[in-house]
């Protein structure tokens, strides 16, 4: 980290390091810095309350919303409770419950994405990690309320996507979003985990590449020296961008919202339907 010169353009692998760095604003900072009110809502009503995924009623610049997102810990103890931001099935199911509640109460959803991935554990498999994520994908695709996503740190594969299907995807300048971690990709396709820098470059996981690919809609610039060097400024930027999008989307009727979302998903990442 200390050897990164922010006055020059960063390599994808350097950006991965920045996205993971300690001191980068976490969901706790966004809640305290951009919400005048936050009422946490706990539990999936079936198994438990995942600390790796949190959510609740929030007021941002006078707008009432449902805020959900991955939670990483600020210290080792909190990180263990939050499972390092790797949610279990009950986390995705809690998020789904809050999405549906948002739809019922006509609240826009704001989702903050920052996870290495969904937790790969025995219990997670037993309780249906795959089903939990899959179900969320179908719910988000048809949710009749605005859905704004901000990728703030690590957008780790299905664990990120499990709360990240919506109307607009914003991404911080030094966040990353990928189908597999660079280390994972390197160990499979290069047969050497140490080739992660090569894999990071090949997978095009940085905000500028994802904007070109049409996967995200806007890059939120980070303060000089990246988000961790001035968390307050970063939170302010995110707040302004989220508020603008929420206000725009709220003006659309539910039918138009879901029709536009489907049309966007239909085009996005298509091999053939780019103009369809």
């Amino acid at each position: 980290m200390s050897d990164i010169d922010f006055s020059k353009s960063l390599t994808p692998w350097q950006i991965v390091q920045v996205a993971r760095t300690a001191g980068r604003p976490l969901i706790q900072d966004y809640i305290s810095g951009m919400c005048s009110d936050f009422v946490e809502l706990h539990g999936d009503r079936a198994f438990g309350d995942d600390r790796g995924m949190i959510g609740g009623f929030a007021t941002i610049g006078g707008e009432r919303v449902m805020l959900i997102g991955h939670q990483k810990g600020k210290n080792v103890e909190d990180n263990i409770k939050a499972n390092f931001g790797m949610a279990n099935p009950e986390g995705y199911r809690k998020a789904m419950r809050l999405m549906k509640l948002a739809e019922k109460f006509h609240l826009p959803v704001v989702a903050l994405v920052d996870t290495p991935g969904a937790y790969p554990g025995l219990e997670a498999e037993a309780r249906g990690q795959a089903e939990a994520i899959a179900r969320n994908l179908t719910v988000m695709a048809t949710l009749r309320t605005p859905y704004v996503i901000v990728v703030t740190g690590e957008g780790g594969s299905g664990g990120a996507l499990g709360i990240a299907v919506g109307d607009v995807v914003l991404m911080l300048q030094y966040a990353v979003y990928s189908v597999i971690s660079p280390e994972g990709c390197a160990s499979i396709l290069w047969r050497d985990g140490k080739k992660a820098p090569e894999a990071a470059a090949a997978m095009k996981i940085t905000a500028d590449s994802l904007l070109k690919l049409g996967i995200i809609d806007e890059i939120l610039l980070e303060p000089a020296g990246a988000a961790h060097s001035d968390p307050k400024a970063m939170v302010k930027t995110v707040k302004a961008a989220v508020l603008k999008r929420v206000k725009e989307l709220k003006a659309l009727p539910g039918d138009e919202l879901t029709a536009r979302r489907y049309a966007k998903l239909r085009r996005m990442g298509s091999a053939t339907l780019a103009n369809g």
Binding site: T142, G158, L189, W190, K195, L213, I215, L265, A271
Partner: protein
């Protein structure tokens, strides 16, 4: 010719695999003829061997009823991806040449016991059945065809998950396919998911797990994260039956395990319960 008259007959020099099918699960050697007569199900351990999409279509649809849709849609290379073993485009072209398929799924319309359906069948031979943008397009367009013609939709999955060579674009296929499936749910159209060996990763975490009815074949591998990744994460050895169809059934995520020979009848019966005429 009596056996003692045979001197080093050419047949004897044939490689073992030319005479025997080897069960990839229990390693039993079974004569090819018997293997095929049993629909590639191991007579010893009941492992249901992987089928090509053509074999699968023949098994579950009425003869001659399958008509392919969007067969020209093929892989795209949105990242111009290249890894240690070369460019993805070359690898994908190799898969096309080897399998005669353009993508990891074949979709189309068909009849099952006279009931009209839209069908998608994945083929593991094509890049491990991985979910690429061409795969996603075919799945999405077939769902739209089901919606347009008000037919039920059935997908047979066989996939290791996302296609890493298409990076984030591959991940987005999970969202796109589920969005199309969600439209069927809204329209009240039946969607049956059949999880065959293997159905893992991004495919199990998207369209394969959200059927109105999820079914599987005996002993199929069904799960989200890879066994090795989980063992490294939790630092424990996993039980032998972990992530089998039987395990997933026991944990409540699939409705039924159906033997291959009974699959067609099971699908037809289910469709009739779903009100399909």
């Amino acid at each position: 010719m009596a056996w003692f008259e045979m001197s080093a007959a050419p047949q004897a020099r044939k490689p073992l695999e030319a005479m025997w099918a080897v069960c990839s699960s229990c390693k039993a050697h079974v004569p090819h003829e018997e293997w095929h007569a049993a629909l590639r199900v191991c007579p010893r351990c009941n492992y249901h061997d992987r089928l090509s999409c053509r074999e699968r279509i023949e098994l579950v649809t009425d003869a001659g009823s399958f008509q392919e849709l969007n067969g020209r849609i093929t892989f795209a290379d949105p990242l111009k991806f290249e890894d240690a073993s070369g460019p993805y485009a070359a690898k994908a072209k190799g898969a096309v040449a080897k399998t005669g398929l353009n993508e990891a799924i074949v979709t189309g319309t068909a009849k099952i016991d006279s009931l009209a359906v839209v069908l998608g069948v994945m083929d593991f031979r094509f890049l491990g059945g991985s979910l690429g943008s061409g795969t996603g397009d075919r799945i999405l367009l077939a769902a739209e065809e089901a919606l347009r013609t008000r037919r039920p939709y059935i997908i047979f999955s066989a996939s290791g998950g996302a296609r890493m060579h298409e990076g984030i674009v591959s991940l987005m296929q999970m969202a796109r396919t589920c969005a199309a499936i969600a439209k069927l749910q809204e329209a009240g159209l039946p969607y049956i998911s059949v999880l065959t060996d293997p159905t893992t990763g991004g495919v199990s975490a998207s369209y394969a797990m959200v059927g109105d009815i999820n079914i599987s074949e005996p002993r199929a591998l069904v799960g989200f994260a890879g066994r090795r990744v989980i063992e490294q994460t939790i630092k424990q050895k996993l039980p032998d039956d972990f992530q089998t169809a039987e395990y997933v059934l026991e944990h409540g995520f699939i409705d039924h395990i159906v033997e291959r020979k009974a699959m067609k009848a099971f699908l037809a019966n289910t469709l009739r319960y779903a009100g399909v005429k």
